[in-house]
Assembly symmetry: D2
Homo-oligomer: 315 residues x 4
């Protein structure tokens, strides 16, 4: 089935880092994001194709991980519908003032404890003179610095149990699962969910440590696969740890590269080529345990740390 479209897209995330200066260097100099203000221990950062105030709120903290994932509703009515559903299901926390550039914000948690914020009102970004783009249909000038990622693409959570969290996204947020892995035991080991034509926006992967509320990775989209090959050289030159890739996922067919930012959080660069889910009656693709064991599309074995590294680290 098609998603309900009540949620338009992932707006931004708040990422925690115990190495705030190094993480800031990574996101600005290496990834090419632009700073757009500060608030306490947090720095607001934006990709050049983001029309909102920020794509990433980077917050100094005692450890790593994701504090919150922000979802923009498609309208005030859509937001009201989602809040009502979350509240009825006992998953809502309540309203807060939004972050910089963001209107009234409703907090909720998924069953695994990851915090979400939903909002409708959002100020469109107005670039200062030096960041004004040459083409008026673009939010900000292309930076040409480091990787220069286009946009925040998706968030991949770790969860002790995948299925209830996928249900949460489907039933309470109006998303749909496009692909999933089902083990021989019948257990869902991972699920990819989307809100629009992108083939996924949120992903849940089973946390082998049984912990709650952890992050597997956040992903930024580049315009081309060549941007990712070039990024690999930039990471190599700047001592950014490359975990695996570049290669092509069998699941979702995404061209990928995984690195750890200096704070320890796993960051993916992804390029979907021109793939979109246009079918309004898409049937969830289910991969078996045997199919998953084959590794990535072109035969690369899934790296062991993919199942063990998450943030914050488990003691």
């Amino acid at each position: 089935m098609a998603p309900s479209h009540d949620i338009a897209h992932v707006g931004h995330v708040e990422l925690l880092t115990p190495e705030p200066e190094k993480s800031l260097w990574f996101f600005t100099e290496i990834m090419g994001l632009t700073e757009n203000g500060r608030d306490g221990d947090s720095v607001y950062l934006r990709t050049w194709d983001d029309y909102e105030h920020h794509s990433l709120k980077l917050t100094a903290h005692s450890t790593s991980g994701i504090r919150r994932t922000a979802l923009r509703a498609s309208s005030q009515e859509a937001l009201d519908r989602r809040v009502k559903a979350l509240d009825a299901a006992g998953r809502g926390i309540g309203w807060i003032d939004g972050d910089a550039g963001i209107g009234p914000t409703y907090l909720a948690t998924d069953p695994d404890g990851h915090e979400f914020e939903l909002y409708w009102e959002s100020e469109w970004y107005q670039p200062p003179e030096e960041l004004r783009p040459a083409l008026k249909n673009q939010a900000q000038a292309y930076p040409g610095r480091g990787v220069s990622v286009r946009r925040l693409d998706h968030v991949n959570f770790l969860a002790a149990q995948v299925e209830p969290n996928g249900d949460f996204v489907r039933d309470l947020l109006g998303g749909e699962a496009t692909e999933q892995i089902r083990l021989d035991t019948g257990k869902i080991a991972a699920q990819w969910l989307h809100f629009g034509n992108k083939s996924y926006d949120l992903v849940y992967t089973e946390d082998w440590t049984g912990s709650n509320g952890r992050l597997h990775h956040i992903a930024f989209a580049t315009d081309t696969r060549e941007d990712i090959l070039r990024a690999a050289d930039i990471f190599l030159e700047n001592d950014v740890f490359i975990e695996t890739g570049p290669h092509k996922h069998a699941i979702q067919q995404t061209f990928f590269l995984y690195v750890y930012e200096p704070g320890g959080n796993r960051i993916e660069l992804c390029n979907p080529v021109a793939r979109l889910i246009l079918a309004p009656d898409w049937k969830t693709i289910t991969w078996t345990q045997a199919e998953r064991a084959k590794g990535q599309a072109w035969g690369l074995k899934t790296i062991e740390s993919f199942h063990t590294h998450g943030t914050p680290p488990v003691e």
Copy 2:
């Protein structure tokens, strides 16, 4: 505003050609489409990423042009809503049996006389053994023959008056205009409209000859810009007329290449890189006459034939 999502996407088009054998060679050997059945003077063709029966119905005819553009609704209810609206506006023609693989189909025309068909029921394509893809989340094996385009991307109509046709798409089909050109006289010279996260699905451009019902081009999406550079070499080697490109449009920022297929219809290869319209409150970008006069993104002047060549040709 966000589109209503009642229309999911452009499903297929019926293209007319006075050179059926040569056009078939072009679409199969050069573009890499796969034949999927015939019906009278028509051949059904499909791109490898299409989940439906066909992307293109190629029909032998006395002249060139587009006979019909098929839009898939998001559900039976969505289809009913659109039919009711079209009927009420006097733009409906009535129900017919659908083409191969397609259920009940409602015909309508835009004010300029271009024929549309709307449908909900659609058989999912089941590839024969030799076309079965290696990855189960893909409709058909990647052909590796000629350009190997991924999908039908959009249709660009010529119209004597752009604005009433854009209104038709917005008011009766639930689309929205993402970008447009407004002349100094206030007249809308071109409008780009979309139904989902793709930044455009249907385009209207003013027909300087004042004719009705003509086609500017249909476009196929490739996965990468490199596919388009490679395609240019394939066209060069096979005497396919290249009209303009490869280059990048300022409007919509699409990387493009325009050729004429042997029947005379203009065909675009397009690559959107990773650009999507995610904002639910996107404001239509309006380009002025002076801005349009600057040409394409990297300075290429718009080719003269862009304003004169359409199909069928005008006597």
Copy 3:
């Protein structure tokens, strides 16, 4: 030091296959080579950028492996100098008639037993009408079929001892080593040698089985890295075994992909980006055992079969 330039380039190789029909399918349909005549159990095949009669002589045989590597001299005088040197060193076998399109040919062997042929006279390829290129500075029309590799790039031999074979290329053929691996024991485990501005044309790698005369791989160059990513999809769809890649070598920085053709021989697709050795006083780069252990440029571990799989197989 700069190479002597007596050898201009690798002209072609003769490859043996126990699966001649399947290997022929691989080289023509998947790799995009063009057949250019037959002779007994052999088929002559050519890449589209090859100016000579053939790039590959594919010969049906009881097993796999490489029968001969052909080197074109830079002139008759250069050939005479090389023959004299080979003869004096006792490595020459004698003159034979050349293969189709090739003049008088001198046979010799390296210390490990790999057979070489040296020649000067060579007929320039004249394409038939249907293969005539659109641009006159190109040998043959770009095929647009499968991977469509540009040229034969290099040959990588296995040898029981690397060093004497590298010396053979340097002292008797006038090549130079651009890079090499030296183990902690002082032993040279691999050596890359070149004859012109390409950074390598012949490579010797230590054969852990201690066998003689075996092949590690032959490599074909593509125009872009994107061609290699696209090739990976073509291999995947056509059940061609992908051994490792795509990735970037640390040594020589080549972007690579390794597959086995149906006869069992390892084939590399390589793209050197724009890297050339222009320095006439290039100093051989020596990689230590510890550096080699780090794997490829972006961290991929060297696959185990890289040290064990060669052709013909060892009983």
Copy 4:
């Protein structure tokens, strides 16, 4: 015929600019070159793949243009041979001390008055800690700043008469012409000459103004065509004037983009894909006037300013 190999490659050029600060910004921030010292009104700049002290000497001057083109000999003996030939032909000026990092340098002029310097001794670049590359077979860390061009590729001179200058390169420097344009009158309108496997290093184009000693452009090579598409966006965002491209030349098949640096000199970004001249008996390709009139490979017409803009400008 093959070139003599006495000249190894173009080492560097001295470029004149009336806008030294803006030109320096262009070459460092936009093109991604690295400063490597200053000398009076000159700044030494280097591309990251250059093994020598500098690729470009940028000198403040009253006007634009090229002061000198430096060619590195293949050995001391090769240098001596060239000096003897130049001297005998009356084209030599004499010996001077070399620039920073360069040994004894011999000056000469081509018939049109362009100044050349020939040298053998050259200090290999030793990067400071912060510019040390991750891979030891690379001269300097990849900058990831702006376009990040790999190397200086070629110099294209304007000359009142092309043929005597081509003869100069062939007879006195040991180069060879790979391609040329011959007008219907028999006059050579342009000639591309090379010293190694690159298909051209020096180019002469007829100066329609009849002036002497002018520059058409200098070119920098990128690793990929995608680098050039990305560069076009960087130029667009930074108000660098794009004259023509990106497109593919019919002659030499180079993928190109031409801009003017702030001092007025035309700069090309070029990517040769994997094309090399390996044939030792390459026959000069001659394009007719009619063939040249067809424009570039994919049909782009040659821009008018290509025949009129050179530096320094003609009053």
